[in-house]
């Protein structure tokens, strides 16, 4: 039946799986059992980094890439001319165990194309994972892909076997999904996620999260996984640049996924054209935009920001020149400067150049002594950026830092690696990137004026 060599089929299926960028092996803490192999660490372990700079912690594979669906953005769509292959559950389990013992990986990331039906593909994956858990006594990390439309009972079985499950939203609006992935629909996707979120909270005895309540705190400890249900929770992925949706649509969606469905992570993947098709733009991958979305995602999860603070109807896309945090600060100068020795922790987190660690260190150590600029530098604050927004004992780092009229220009100079107090300020131009809806703005002071509250 399988006449092609294992290596060739393996390479085909890795090639087909790699655009799913989820890479974490964290969120689950499991000790090995007698007679077993493997454990998981709640902080996750990166085993290597690929040539594109991304972390490799799991063996990422498709069970099969023979797909019945026709999603325009996907390399495995039925009409795309690529080699098709499958691996048996035994083959996947063998490779996983052998890689694991050599410490190449923390575990397995198993996905599948929709071969025949969602139920059929899901059952193949269940067989593979059951082999690993039961016959090989594997206690390492398993991340499994949920196929929307699969029977709820099958998803439930997966939940008891895997550490994490994900359903990829891929496209941020029902409209783009209908256009580009006609066999999928938003209801079944979100419905599947909602169902899993419900199961998790029933099984693990957490209080149901109501809409609008606090986002996951990074300090919250992950549940220990003995026979628990999906201990590392759910994640999802969105493709950036395959549709006309703005950053605002994307980040607002992420925020509600974190709040309402207890999503652990949302991943953003810049659209890379794969093969010939006519529905999608052929442009360079919007890498800077993807980067801005990750920065914004971090602001939501760790810095207490809300989506509506970062983007609005008038300003629906992130600035290419400045990161979202700095842009927000410039748009809210009435809140600055902050006195580092008096400001609340939530305020400190809003200062560009002060990260979570620095904010916590400032907060902890100022009980013992008033902080000065030398202390801040020692603590790890990036003074280059923070100096405009904070004072120590009533004074700025440099007396010119308090003049907010030229602040946007100065920050841009800093980003370009220049001296913020150079007389002739030449503003750098950044090249346009990404899909047509994401236009570059020619930098000049007027573009900031509507946002600066005088």
């Amino acid at each position: 039946m399988q006449t092609e060599s294992l290596e060739r089929r393996f390479a085909t299926l890795v090639e087909s799986a790699k655009y799913d960028v989820s890479c974490a092996s964290s969120g689950s803490s499991r000790k090995n059992k007698a007679g077993g192999i493997g454990n998981t660490e709640s902080f996750g372990i990166c085993h290597s980094w690929a040539e594109d700079g991304r972390c490799i912690s799991l063996l990422k594979l498709l069970q099969t890439n023979k797909c019945a669906y026709e999603c325009a953005y996907c390399v495995n769509r039925a009409s795309n001319d690529i080699p098709r292959a499958s691996l048996t559950p035994e083959e996947v389990a063998q490779i996983t165990i052998n890689f694991y013992k050599r410490n190449y990986i923390e575990g397995l990331f198993l996905s599948s194309a929709v071969h025949r039906t969602p139920d059929y593909s899901t059952e193949m994956m269940i067989r593979t994972i059951e082999l690993l858990r039961k016959r090989h006594c594997f206690n390492g990390y398993i991340h499994v892909k949920g196929i929307p439309g699969a029977d709820a009972a099958l998803i439930r079985r997966l939940g008891f076997l895997a550490d994490r499950i994900s359903f990829n939203i891929e496209l941020p609006s029902a409209k783009s999904l209908a256009l580009l992935a006609p066999q999928k629909n938003k209801q079944s996707l979100v419905g599947a996620m909602r169902h899993v979120a419900g199961e998790i909270s029933n099984m693990n005895g957490l209080a149901r999260l109501a809409g609008g309540s606090a986002l996951r705190s990074p300090q919250r400890s992950p549940s220990t996984a003995s026979s628990k249900f999906i201990p590392a929770g759910q994640s999802t992925q969105m493709i950036i640049g395959a549709s006309e949706d703005s950053d605002r649509t994307i980040i607002t969606l992420s925020e509600s996924l974190y709040r309402r469905l207890a999503m652990r992570r949302v991943y953003y993947s810049a659209y890379i054209p794969v093969g010939e098709q006519s529905l999608l733009p052929v442009v360079a991958p919007p890498l800077l935009r993807e980067h801005r979305l990750y920065q914004a995602d971090w602001l939501l999860r760790f810095y207490g920001f809300q989506a509506h603070e970062l983007l609005s109807e008038a300003n629906p896309n992130f600035d290419l020149r400045l990161d979202p945090k700095a842009f927000w600060a410039i748009s809210n100068l009435h809140l600055f400067p902050l006195d580092v020795n008096r400001a609340a922790l939530e305020q400190l987190l809003r200062v560009p150049g002060i990260g979570v660690n620095s904010a916590q260190r400032i907060f902890a150590s100022r009980k013992f002594a008033q902080l000065d600029f030398a202390d801040l530098k020692r603590i790890g604050v990036v003074m280059k950026r923070a100096r405009f927004f904070i004072t120590c004992k009533g004074k700025f780092f440099d007396s010119r830092d308090g003049d907010y009229r030229r602040l946007p220009q100065r920050l841009l100079m800093l980003e370009a690696g220049g001296n913020p107090y150079e007389e002739a300020l030449q503003l750098p131009l950044f090249a346009n990137e990404g899909a047509a809806s994401y236009a570059a703005v020619v930098p000049n002071e007027e573009s900031f004026i509507p946002l600066i509250v005088q």
Binding site: E7, F10, A11, V14, E15, K18, Y19, K31, N32, G35, G36, I37, G38, N39, E41, F43, I45, C46, H47, S48, W49, A50, E51, D52, G53, R54, C55, I56, S57, L59, K60, I95, N98, F99, K101, R102, N103, Y104, C137, A270, I272, A284, P285, L287, R361, I362, A364, S365, R366, K367, F368, A369, L371, D375, R378, I379
Partner: protein
Amino acid sequence: MTNKQDHIYLYDGSWEGLLSAFYHACKAKERSPEISCEQNGGLFNEYLRIHADDQIAREVSGAIVQRISRNSLYRAGLLYLSECDGFGGVMYRYLLLGFSMGKQVDFYQSHEAVRAAHALSRKVVCEAHRFMGLTRFANTENNVYYAAIEPQHNIVPVIAPHFYDRMGGEPWIIHDLKRGIAALSTESGYEILPFTIEYQPGMADDENFFQGLWRRYYKTVSIAPKKNLRLRNRYIPPRYFSHLTELNSNSQEDFNQQ
């Protein structure tokens, strides 16, 4: 940083020796001594040779746990494993502050002694965490999983418990080539022993196959338009390449053939 007046306490390189030297420096009410196992200070520094004393070492570690915290003792241990120049002085100033402040000392992050101790111990923890990922085992002909590493700090004692739990019943060896020691799995745990032999084991039958498969995986999984070797090298400094199956010299030949 030693000046003409600072004393240098010499110990034998062991943990008990370090604590004994610390004890004596404390008793002499030193402000900023250096504690080291090498004689490389200035000509006019006064050297005091201290003998390791198990009883004193036990008392000192007990005092640290009691008067500061268990965490601080662990941190002192990490500083010892860092093997960096000057770690003795960093440890001394940190613990001295700890004795006067108690367990609050770790919150006083703006104090120079605390920052120095935290930054150095963090280096050790970071490298240990990295090696939980970068250590590569090879299945040798007698079915022992053997890994060779060359870390900057002495992290084998930190990573051994992790691998003991992870590997289950499989026999394994982690060999620190730089220091001539290895963690070896035993019936009920592991031991850390001197390991200076030139160990060149033969490979198990399927070892080449899985190494080849892993190299194939490594090359395939990268997304070509996003290639960024500078970023990759920031995460894995090239000094670690030689013991990584996917990046050592063998991997180059492998791909020239394909």
